[in-house]
């Protein structure tokens, strides 16, 4: 099992400075939250998908198609049942609540896809440098990126432990979701102990290499905001401003919905 989403492709999106990609990610979140009309949300989703296509990252969506589909369907159903509106559609469901559910489903899918594109185009090391250059303390950035890097290792350890337990007769594949969940419980202790046991060795290895020695840190990987970053940022800021202006002018709203 490899949970890492990074795709090593040679695209202009991959070559952007990590700070630019972080700004684009946050900007995509903002963009998805500006409109309430499903049609406008569809346009935002299309823009994000086009960006993902240019970044050659859309293949990762196959890994989360189930989540995206479930988001679409269940959010639509939930808001249709919980929300209210003016135009009766069927039984106690109103048209506006269905449209609102559709809009929110598209909004969540858009933000999830934007997150996947960010992780498909940004390495852990770039995330760390990006965070530090944005003013986040190095030790915090180190913890985040180390955790990101360790997830596949720990997942692999869990897989090995589960294989060992299977060989002793543990059946992890049968039963409903709750029964299967319970069967994973005996795996938690060895995974936890195996991982935490390395803390002291890990700490000594870090300190022997100067972790916490003070002074300004330098990085092997160098990143800098270049002309491409500036162009992308300017285009995106204009897009955001135009979207806000449209919303202020009364476009992209949803009349008649009551939460």
């Amino acid at each position: 099992m490899d949970p890492s989403l990074y795709l090593d492709r040679d695209t202009w999106v991959h070559r952007l400075d990590p700070r630019t990609k972080m700004f684009l990610l946050i900007g995509a979140f903002v963009l998805a939250f500006i409109f309430l009309d499903p049609l406008y949300e569809l346009v935002v989703l299309a823009l994000v998908l086009i960006f993902g296509y240019m970044a050659k990252s859309l293949e990762n969506l196959r890994r989360i198609w189930f989540i995206l589909l479930a988001v679409g369907l269940l959010t639509l159903v939930l808001w249709s049942l919980v929300g209210g509106g003016r135009t009766p559609l069927f039984l106690f469901v109103e048209l506006e609540s269905v449209l609102y559910g559709l809009s929110i489903a598209l909004r969540i899918d858009t933000t999830i896809i934007a997150g996947v594109i960010f992780l498909s185009t940004t390495r852990n090391e770039e995330v760390a440098i990006g965070l530090v250059k944005l003013g986040i303390p190095y030790r915090f950035a180190f913890a985040v990126t180390t955790a990101l890097r360790l997830v596949p290792t720990i997942a692999s350890t869990g897989f090995t432990i589960s294989q060992a337990q299977r060989s002793r007769g543990l059946d992890l594949d049968s039963g409903n979701i709750l029964q299967r969940t319970r069967k994973y419980v005996p795996l938690l202790v060895p995974v936890f102990v195996t991982t935490i046991r390395s803390t002291n060795v890990f700490s000594m290895a870090l300190e022997s290499k100067g972790f916490g020695a003070g002074g300004k840190r330098t990085f092997y990987l160098r990143t800098a905001l270049g002309g491409r970053d500036v162009v992308v940022l300017v285009v995106f800021v204009v897009l955001l401003a135009a979207s806000v202006a449209l919303r202020v002018a009364g476009y992209g709203t949803l009349e008649g919905f009551s939460g």
């Binding site: 989360i64 933000t111 180190f142 955790a147 419980v185 102990v193 935490i196 939460g259």
Partner: protein, 273 residues
């Protein structure tokens, strides 16, 4: 609460943050495929981890839970809602170690190894309260963003967290605590007393956290089901005072006494030896 900042001085605590986060995320990710409310709530046996790492690693566990939940979101559900998840999971692990010390006298054995009925009862009470607070924070945030209906998210997070924490937590702590103590990785062993804030009116702080946690959920349920407050900003403003109470109470609970108690216990053991 100064220990949540001073802990970053210790390399061991930094490593514990990373390892706690990685464990939490590594157990969360396989269950991304079983969402209850997609993008917000899944079946999460991993939810026992914040209680355990909170009690064992203190502030490192709190940061680890927050970061682990965020990393879990990176693998399929990253959205603006993740900010609420970060803060909610931080408190899910912060409150257990903050509150734990409020229920034991200084001369009483307060090791969270679940070897007595009192410890079990205190753990269950704390796990339920931390689940209420975590749910209150996340629901409050998603209510402000209006991305999910408030009441279902509130109920599901409370139930999901509390069940996993109450059922699995005592077993894990009983099995894991002796090993962690033997390796010298308890937060009370790594941190110095002066790096941890002392409690001020601890009992009052305890009450404030309870009032804030229970109040946020009960008020949220009443407002959400009766429609007495408009969704979004209405519910958001109504719950804000309760969440502030939780934060204020957490400041008052301190934690230095737990570090000092362990130091005294270790000194006594050395003198006996």
């Amino acid at each position: 609460m100064k220990e949540i900042f001073t802990m970053w001085r210790h390399t061991q605590m930094v490593v514990l943050v990373a390892l706690s986060a990685a464990i939490y995320a590594a157990i969360l990710i396989p269950f991304k495929g079983f969402p209850i409310i997609p993008g917000a709530v899944e079946i999460r046996p991993a939810n026992v981890i914040p209680f355990v790492v909170g009690l064992l690693f203190g502030p490192a566990g709190a940061w680890g839970s927050a970061i682990g939940n965020l990393i879990g979101d990176f693998f399929g559900t990253l959205s603006p809602g993740s900010i609420g998840g970060f803060v909610g999971n931080f408190f899910l692990a912060l409150l257990p170690y903050k509150l734990w010390g409020a229920y034991f006298r200084r001369d009483e054995n307060s090791e969270p190894n679940m070897d007595s009925g009192k410890k079990l009862v205190v753990y269950i009470a704390i796990a339920v309260l931390a689940s209420l607070v975590c749910s209150g924070i996340i629901s409050w945030w998603v209510a402000l963003l209006q991305i999910f209906p408030f009441v279902p998210v509130l109920i599901l997070i409370v139930v999901n967290n509390a069940i996993m924490g109450v059922i699995l937590g005592p077993i894990l702590l009983r099995l894991i605590y002796p090993r962690v103590k033997r390796w010298g990785l308890l937060w009370t062993e790594i941190m110095e007393p002066e790096e941890v804030s002392a409690s001020r009116l601890q009992s009052t702080g305890n009450i404030l956290v309870w009032v804030g946690g229970v109040g946020a959920v009960v008020t949220g349920l009443i407002l959400g089901t009766t429609g007495a407050a408009p969704a979004g900003l209405g519910i958001g403003l109504a719950l804000l005072p309760f969440l502030i109470l939780v934060v204020v109470g957490s400041f008052m609970l301190g934690g230095r006494e737990q570090v000092e108690a362990l130091e005294e216990e270790m000194a006594a053991e050395e003198s006996r030896a």
